[in-house]
Symmetry: C2
Subunit: 341 residues, 2 copies
């Protein structure tokens, strides 16, 4: 399973794209965002900074706050509003991760013991609630009802997406449409809002706000599809914190599985049902699943969908004139899909 | 244990006060609030209205929305803003209940099977998140940054209180001060905000806003203290949904226990530690706990504290001229403490 379990592997791009360009351009802003994050996770209730610090220090890519800052820069925003709103978006995301710890019973989160494993379910839920509340306090301090509307709508959509995902779990009859709807709600909506809020801060025309919203949404779709593909093809990566087969063992119904199930015969369908619905998983089943995914071209076709979303994201950038920050945003699209190589 | 485990029982008041006066005066408004609640718990994701409906239909007293409406009426508010904000406060409360289901592993909530028992931990967390987000959408639609600040601050305080409570659980060294701080944060803060928001809607002078805030806060303190006393003295009551000894079995450190522990000798302290810290509870232990609470006057003294808060609440009403709605609010204070008889 090294790298790819897929024989039609696309040639690895020798130029390693990444978030470096964004981080170079926005380093000072990100330093300020990290300070705001640190300041705002404080509380006299000591377990809150302890637990929040654990998950926030684990760090991850800070992709969503980077998108807020980059979009604001692209739109020529001045001032500091975008820093607090970037922190706010990261708090919403972190609250979701903490609540996902309960949801997914995941043992690994970004390569570290999950907060739940260290402090228990109850603390994860409640500290998530605190960070979520804190994110609204940051928005209120910012004072824009437009931003408050965007992010409260997004928070409701995120929760709907998570519940919808819960309803599709272990259900092999889930179709591609339902899967994409879940991804749109639970992942793409916050990417879209992160980019849109940057344009709102800069008070740009609706067309630019809309373009950034489309950029973020398509990037988020690509990002999640790639994540779901990697769950069957990646090696354990300490930066990624996922090991191959997590989704399979949890009975998550993702695009590769949906495609292979639809294309499988009755014996294969019975195999998927036993593993994902009944969660009766035996030695060799993961290898069998990978073989079926390859046989039905399911990983390749899922990748094609991810590339299409990446193309949509790039197209949405066309209304903006060329600039360093625009190039860096385009490179973040490459970063997202090149994780597949 | 019928009624009271306490020999110094205060004479039962023959006049049964209650929420009837509030409900009579505010019935039409409450009907509208219930409609808004129903409308706003809808979602295309069917598990959300199912689960939210389950916990919201279980109903409870709707005390917090009643306080919003009553305070708005007391301050002469016109229009409809208070209806949506009353629904918003109930959503925040309901989200807390759903997350408490995870937290407390409670099997009973208002006499019905808890949402968790029916749908699982994960759904409770996520539907709670949805209702919490929805409450912010309602505030944003209302459009007042003042209200948004009050309620987002309150939401953060609630979460801090819940985490603080988690830290004191099973710790018999918890003192009265820490206990009161937890109650102030996890219960009184939302009562206070419910009353204050009514004054904000009516755009009344700061003195009235402050008086209503003090009224709600003191009422909330009394309410929670009474709840914690009832946990050792009440009979199973289908309306209350609690059975005697729940807190004892969960190792919750409440005021009666704190007082009895402080006043106990080493043998008694060892008993409390075994039951509440080690959670090693044997036949007869609850009866033994009750005897210790009575021997050290712990229930009576906790009641005295509750009555003092009720007195503070009544005093805060003094700046308002006499009126039907003021009398009804004072009766709600009686309702709160008369549950002890």
């Amino acid at each position: 399973m090294a790298g790819m379990a897929d024989p039609n592997q696309i040639q690895q791009d020798s130029k390693k794209a990444g978030l470096d360009a964004l981080l170079d351009l926005l380093g000072d802003d990100m330093t300020r965002v990290n300070e705001i994050i640190l300041e705002n996770m404080q509380s006299p209730v000591s377990l809150i900074p302890q637990l929040a610090g654990h998950i926030i220090a684990a760090g991850g890519k800070r992709l969503r706050p980077l998108l807020v800052l980059a979009s604001a820069r692209l739109c020529g925003a001045e001032g500091e509003r975008q820093m607090a709103l970037a922190a706010c978006v990261e708090f919403i995301h972190t609250a979701t991760l903490l609540h996902d710890d309960v949801v997914d019973e995941s043992d690994l989160r970004r390569g570290q013991a999950s907060a739940k494993a260290v402090w228990g379910n109850q603390a994860s839920v409640l500290v998530g609630d605190f960070l979520f509340s804190r994110s609204f306090q940051l928005m209120v301090a910012d004072g824009s009802l437009k931003v408050l509307k965007l992010l409260s709508d997004t928070a409701a959509t995120l929760a709907e997406g998570e519940v919808h995902q819960l309803m599709t779990a272990n259900d092999t009859e889930t179709n591609e449409e339902a899967y994409l709807e879940v991804v749109r709600a639970k992942t793409a909506s916050l990417f879209a809002a992160s980019c849109q809020v940057g344009a709102q801060v800069a008070e740009r025309p609706d067309a630019e706000e809309e373009a950034l919203r489309r950029f973020g949404g398509a990037l988020g779709m690509a990002f999640q599809l790639v994540d779901d593909i990697l769950d069957y093809t990646a090696e354990v990566d300490p930066k990624l914190g996922k090991s191959v087969g997590d989704d399979f063992r949890e009975g998550k119904i993702t695009l590769p599985v949906i495609l292979a199930f639809e294309r499988g015969d009755e014996t294969e369908k019975a195999f998927w049902r036993r593993c994902l619905e009944e969660q009766d998983i035996r030695d060799g089943d993961l290898e069998q699943a990978l073989q079926l995914l390859v046989r039905h071209n399911a990983l390749e076709d899922a990748k094609t969908r991810a590339f299409a979303y990446a193309g949509e994201a790039r197209a949405a950038m066309e209304i903006f004139p060329e600039s360093e920050i625009r190039s860096a945003l385009l490179e973040s699209v490459d970063f997202c899909v090149e994780r597949l190589y």
